[in-house]
């Protein structure tokens, strides 16, 4: 139960524990223009991986909680993938910002993560 705070508060207490979930990409004004439905049928992600995804990545990547790039937001995913797929994969394995190492998927193999990244980015594999 952490209260969200007025922005001015962060001028002093930048790293406070009291982070809110207000950073969702869904709140940005051009969200509607950027969002593309995820290309479910074109992406090589089998039912087993999809089930793992829905129990882990989906927690944040559907709503964009804590700044997570939203599934199907191809522009944002392409921006991140410009660093190379391995860099994005390393973020998953090591954790990045509020995403923990392995992205809450303790059951995922590295190949699963690759498929999930491609799926969320809307890439054909």
């Amino acid at each position: 139960m952490k209260p969200s705070l007025p922005p001015a508060f962060y001028t002093v207490f930048i790293s406070l524990i009291l982070s809110s979930c207000a950073s969702s990409g869904a709140n940005s004004p051009d969200f509607d223009q950027q969002f593309r439905p995820p290309p479910f049928r074109d992406t090589d992600i089998d039912d087993q991986i999809m089930a793992k995804w829905s129990r882990s990545c989906a927690l944040c990547h559907i709503t964009g909680e804590a700044g997570a790039p939203i599934v199907g937001d191809t522009l944002e995913w392409q921006r991140r993938l410009q660093q190379g797929e391995q860099a994005v994969l390393n973020n998953v394995l090591d954790g990045y910002n509020s995403m923990p190492p392995l992205g809450y998927c303790m059951a995922c193999e590295i190949s699963d993560f690759r498929a999930m990244i491609a799926y969320m980015a809307g890439e054909d594999r």
Binding site: M1, K2, P3, L16, I17, L18, S98, E109
Partner: protein, 455 residues
């Protein structure tokens, strides 16, 4: 597929030989990443990770492998509960609502369900959890096993709302435990994953409900002077004391029928605000300057109110990762303990960028609960960013908790040993005896637990 080095392959082969390979049912991983907890502070490279799809797979795994087994949920424990060189058991697939009763507001859940997934699902059947922790990414099994709690002087830890559970013992036997054996239920709810693996639980909920949250800033001493009364008058009440400051952020939550929404309440800045304007913000403030700045900033915080469904109010998302230490102390000495921590941070000029957290938790009867007993406990949490070394800060503060009879949260960092824990938890010896009976070989132990339980 990324190649595996010869050295790594040989190491894996040796571990598999030592701990026993498992051939049937649940799948082991061909290309595993190292396991790490949420903060990154705990790591291991288990010999096998098993993604359990059913209780049958789990019983088969337990009966057909040798060596250490550790269950893992969401990895939100900061303490080394999980790390193992043996087998890691994942129960994510054992999730979701299995059964429910609208009359009694009880629900039976797969123990691998994540708390954050349950809110909407439960609302769909007209139910809401009685309380939630402020992070809701944990699995039900993990939250219960570690004694995870929310806030509320009359509201107990999550484990206390479990009316029955199914435990698969280390030798693969299925045990259904409910209130017909109350002592056993109190023993196994907070189990730190040392008694077996919980596969399903029945949870006492209530009808779906809305909560109204109010947040504001106030002088810490003003709040502490009336904390008992405030805690009694609100369903949830807690403060987040600002370090180097006389202020706390205050949070109260109560049930409401008001419509869902959020409003900001205009408040008059106190004199502290004008002090800040005249001071300006310096880059390298002394503790006294920092206190004035913090007070001034805090005094300008506007109160806000919001109304939403209970699960949306009670839990929050974190934008950064950290490590945490949390102890419970008797409420009678809670404020004194908090004051000493704040004074120590100030006097020793410990660099802290997180607020503290101070709240009450209701008493319960679970043997390893940090709120075990007849009276509620005050809990105090301290945090350090995951990227920073937490040890100097935590090592300085932890003895203060001990001085006030503090009991550690099992999922958070502490350095207590078997000897102290035996003094702090009246049923600790009974738990150790039960653990020995269920797991004479100590399969469910890792080095951390082996030390705690003197095994």
């Amino acid at each position: 597929m990324k190649p595996i080095s010869r050295r790594r392959f040989l190491a894996s082969s040796v571990r598999a030989a030592l701990f026993g390979a498992y051939a049937a049912g649940a799948s082991a991983f061909a290309q595993s990443a190292a396991w790490s907890n949420w903060s990154g502070g705990q790591r291991c490279q288990p010999a096998g990770r098993y993604d359990i799809g059913s209780e049958e797979e789990l019983t088969s795994l337990l009966r057909n492998t040798l060596g250490p087994i550790r269950p893992v949920g969401s990895g939100h424990s900061f303490s080394p509960l999980v790390p193992t060189d043996g087998h890691l058991v994942i129960i994510d697939q054992l999730s979701g609502i299995l059964d429910y009763d609208s009359e009694t507001s009880k629900v039976t859940l797969g123990a691998g369900s994540r708390l954050g997934d349950l809110g909407a699902q439960l609302d769909g059947i007209g139910q809401g959890m009685i309380n939630l922790p402020d992070i809701d990414r944990q699995t039900v099994a993990g939250a219960i096993a570690t004694g995870t709690h929310g806030t509320g002087v009359t509201l107990q830890a999550l484990s206390a709302f479990i009316t029955s559970l199914r435990l698969v013992s280390p030798n693969g036997n299925i045990m259904d435990i409910d209130s017909s054996d109350e002592d056993m239920l109190h023993a196994v709810r907070v189990n730190v994953g040392a008694l077996g693996i919980v596969t399903q639980v029945t949870m006492q909920n209530r009808e779906s409900y809305k909560l109204k949250k109010r947040e504001w800033a106030a002088p810490t001493e003003d709040i502490l002077a009336n904390f008992d009364e405030l805690a009694a008058n609100h369903r949830h009440f807690e403060i987040f004391p600002l370090v180097y400051s006389d202020y706390s952020l205050v949070l109260s939550i109560d049930e409401t029928d008001e419509p869902i929404g959020e409003i900001e309440i205009e408040n008059e800045p106190s004199d502290d605000a004008s002090i800040a304007e005249s001071l300006g913000l310096s880059d390298n403030p002394t503790p006294a300057q920092r206190r004035r700045q913090s007070n001034a900033t805090a005094s300008r915080i506007q109160a806000t109110e919001s109304v939403d469904l209970s699960y949306k109010i009670l839990s929050n998302v974190r934008n950064s990762r950290f490590n945490e230490m949390e102890y419970s102390v008797p409420v009678e000495v809670g404020a004194e303990c908090l004051r000493e921590i704040l004074k120590t941070i100030y006097d020793q000029q410990i660099e802290v960028n997180f607020v503290l957290e101070y709240r009450y938790v209701g008493a319960d009867d679970d043997w390893l609960s940090m709120s075990y007993g007849d009276h509620p406990h005050a809990t105090i949490s301290i945090h350090r960013a995951a990227s920073e070394d937490y040890r100097p800060y935590f090592n300085t503060i932890e003895p203060i908790f001990w001085k006030y009879g503090g009991r550690p949260h099992w999922g958070k960092l502490h350095s207590l040993t078997h000897r102290e824990l035996t003094q702090l938890y009246p049923r600790f010896g009974d738990f150790i005896q039960l653990r020995r009976e269920l797991d004479p070989q100590g399969r469910m132990l890792n080095p951390h637990l082996r030390a705690l339980f003197n095994a």
